[in-house]
């Protein structure tokens, strides 16, 4: 029991140590990408327990900065198929177990 607990802790530590934001797919221009990424990181850290409010924050900020109709999904396990405007998609991992997908589509 202790060993498994230790193992779990190790695993959790392992993931959190390597919890840098990892962009999986994006076709945004460079500056937009960096800004969006930082925004996601901030939001997820701020609302670490509540995915919905993190997503809400991201969506509202993106709407303000880059124009209307952004969509945000945050989660640990999901599949998706979306239609997005060209050069307005960001799909990244963060925090060792979170995946964030941000796209624009009016």
């Amino acid at each position: 029991m202790e060993e498994t607990e230790e193992e779990k802790k190790d695993e959790a530590d392992y993931k959190r140590l390597h919890s840098f934001p990892l962009i999986r797919h994006s076709d945004m221009p460079e500056e937009m990408r960096i800004e969006a990424m930082e925004l996601c990181v901030t939001a997820c850290e701020k609302h670490a327990t509540n995915n919905e409010s993190a997503a809400k924050m991201i969506k509202e900020m993106m709407d303000k900065k880059f124009g209307s109709s952004w969509h945000v999904v945050i989660g640990e396990g999901f599949g998706f198929e979306i239609t997005h405007e060209v050069k307005n998609l960001l799909y990244m991992f963060f925090g060792g177990s979170l995946a964030v997908c941000v796209w624009k589509c009016s």
Partner: protein
């Protein structure tokens, strides 16, 4: 062709209404064809202010006006009495006015009660009179009204382009995230290791690459010029066609009607001029039409002057664009000759003044030849005067022959991307010379031109600087089959007749053109043109027509069928003095010839109908076409010449 009739029908459709509009439907997120287009064209519209009587607004207005009309007759009478009173007593007392009003009212009642008939009569005329009654007032008010000008309204509609959108799908699980992180860490570790071994710049590159792999590369930015290139080319050609429209019309349709009156003489109608800045100082040394594209021709530029040797160029022009060459190749040494390969129309062989030969590939975008000979690989030691492609040999390697003043005829074969040369023949001049140390040197004649037989593959003719023509075979490398004592000076051009198998023509700087039968030692026809002949060419459509250019700038066209002794047309092609015409070529398909001169100018000329005559059919006989007829024509002529000789 110009007289073709085109029918036009009048329909009730609006010709300006577009017929196949495609509109983006945001609902369905796709482009849809708008099927029915409004065919009405509105030419004039005016918003009127007439209202139909029966509509709501109309009825309201009419009621209003009728009420006013009832009051009107009553009031008109009252008014007149009021006005009269006012005039009499103009000290506008309110009392009096009040009295006036009362009196007015009293008078109103009286006529109504007492004299109904009068009132009735009075009522009738007023309604047609003034439907809208301005209430007259005791105060001297003046009404004024004005309205600011109103801009007429126009409707405009516009729909923006839909934003481009793409689909994207992915699946994410915990293990997926974990794997991604592990992969990323490995890459970073590798990067760190390499950083220790290699300098920092490399590491940055790898990081960039690493980042790029994670986030997919943005689509490459295509250079805007290449995207526009094709459209620009088409636009350039269209502009040229518009500018030179009358020339294009002449080229296609114009047939000189005055030829009928000219007897047998013909004319050459100048069409386009092809010029390029950088070749203005160079002479045209070679012209060749492309076997595949009938409007494309290549021109080689160099210099015939021994003392002034400069660079050379090869330009490819198209008839569709007379203002600028399609391809430009430049070289260090002057170009002396060029030839298109008939098996591979994109390959061009070029011979240079410095003895080299090169092959240019038109499909590739480089301006340098794909293969070039050099001193090691057996280039000539003297200028290469002519190159000619042969059929692909047994291994399917393309090969061509070149002839040069160094007396060698060399066959070059393209074997696995290399030029391999084989000396075919060494032209030996008569006599052996005694060299130093008692060596016997063989003098080599200088070859200036050659031509291969169309049908008999191994047979070819060589013209030399001494004026001799050798008949040679590819199989015998040392001996000639025959020698013709042709000219007194260098033989500039030799050409087999395209139809008749035995006849060839040669021209030389000794002012003569000679036509030969290769079985007979003496020429069939001799023409003296009073000036050194630069080039002669058979026409592709008739076995008896050929053209020549002389150094005095004139082009001569002969038709043996019509006139055996004189040219049908002698025309001055280049106008500037001291400009010699150097080369001439017939277009294989169209009735035009191109002439090159010493100033780098190419002139294209159209042959008038007299020069293109086909033999007239006797009544009842069919006009036969084809090479047999041509051969027979020439044979007839030759037999006329031969018979007196044989006698």
């Amino acid at each position: 062709e110009l007289k073709k009739e085109f029918t036009r029908t009048l329909t009730a459709d609006n010709p300006h209404a577009p017929q196949n509009i495609v509109r983006y439907s945001f609902k369905e997120r796709e482009y849809k064809l708008v099927e029915h287009m409004d065919q009405t064209a509105i030419h004039f519209s005016l918003n009127g202010n007439m209202i139909p009587k029966d509509s709501d607004e109309g009825r309201r207005q009419s009621i209003r006006s009728s009420i006013e009309a009832e009051k009107a007759p009553v009031e008109t009478a009252a008014e007149t009495s009021e006005e009269a009173e006012i005039k009499e007593e103009q000290t506008g007392d309110t009392e009096e006015e009040g009295e006036g009003e009362e009196e007015g009212e009293a008078t109103v009642e009286e006529p109504e009660a007492a004299e109904a008939a009068e009132a009735a009569e009075a009522e009738e005329p007023p309604p047609p009179k003034v439907p809208e009654k301005k209430l007259a007032n005791q105060f001297n008010f003046i009404e004024r009204a004005s309205m600011t000008p109103q801009n007429p309204l126009r409707e405009r509609a516009c729909q923006s382009e839909p934003l481009p959108s793409e689909n994207f799908s992915a699946n994410v699980n915990q293990w997926d995230i974990y794997d991604a992180y592990v992969e990323e860490l490995e890459k970073m570790e590798k990067a760190k290791e390499k950083e220790k071994s290699k300098p920092q710049a490399v590491k940055r590159e790898e990081e960039k690459r690493g980042v790029r792999k994670l986030s997919q590369v943005e689509p490459q930015h295509i250079d805007p010029m290449t995207r526009v290139a094709k459209a620009a080319k088409i636009a350039e050609r269209m502009v040229n066609l518009n500018t030179f429209d009358d020339i294009a019309q002449d080229f296609k349709y114009f047939e000189d009607a005055s030829d009928e009156f000219r007897g047998q003489q013909g004319t050459l109608l100048p069409l386009w001029h092809f010029q390029y800045d950088k070749t203005k100082k160079l002479a045209v040394t070679a012209i060749s039409w492309n076997p595949k594209y009938k409007d494309l021709f290549a021109v080689g530029y160099g210099s015939y002057d021994f003392m002034k040797q400069g660079h050379g160029m090869v330009l490819l022009y198209s008839l569709k664009n007379p203002s600028f060459p399609e391809y430009v190749f430049s070289s260090n040494s002057g170009v002396m000759c060029l030839d298109f390969s008939s098996d591979h129309p994109h390959l061009m062989a070029v011979g240079f003044y410095d003895g080299n030969v090169a092959i240019y590939n038109l499909k590739k975008a480089t301006s340098q030849p794909i293969h070039k000979s050099n001193a090691e690989s057996g280039k000539h030691t003297e200028p290469v005067w002519q190159v000619k492609w042969q059929k692909d040999d047994m291994d399917n390697n393309s090969n061509f022959f070149s002839i040069s003043s160094d007396g060698r005829i060399v066959s070059w074969t393209l074997v696995k991307n290399e030029l391999v040369h084989v000396d075919i023949i060494k032209l030996s001049a008569e006599g052996m010379m005694q060299g130093p140390e008692g060596l016997q040197l063989q003098t080599l004649g200088c070859g200036t031109s050659f031509d291969f037989h169309k049908k008999i593959d191994y047979l070819f003719l060589v013209g030399t600087e001494e004026g001799k023509i050798y008949k040679c075979s590819k199989n015998y490398s040392n001996q000639f089959l025959d020698v013709f004592e042709a000219h007194h000076m260098a033989v500039d051009t030799i050409s087999w007749n395209p139809y008749h198998l035995k006849v060839f023509i040669s021209c030389s700087s000794d002012w003569t053109i000679k036509i030969w039968d290769h079985t007979i030692k003496t020429p069939m026809f001799i023409y003296d043109l009073n000036s050194a002949v630069g080039d002669v060419a058979w026409s592709p459509y008739s076995s008896t027509v050929f053209a020549a250019v002389t150094t005095d700038g004139k082009a001569h066209v002969f038709d043996l069928n019509i006139n055996k002794h004189e040219p049908l047309c002698t025309q001055l092609v280049v106008t500037r003095k001291k400009n010699k015409t150097t080369h001439i070529q017939f277009n294989p398909v169209y009735p035009i010839i191109i002439v090159g001169d010493e100033r780098g100018l190419i002139t294209s000329l159209k042959l008038s109908p007299n020069l293109r005559k086909m033999p007239k059919a006797k009544k009842g006989q069919e006009v036969k076409k084809g090479p047999e007829v041509e051969m027979a024509k020439l044979e007839k002529l030759l037999s006329l010449v031969r018979e007196p000789e044989s006698k």
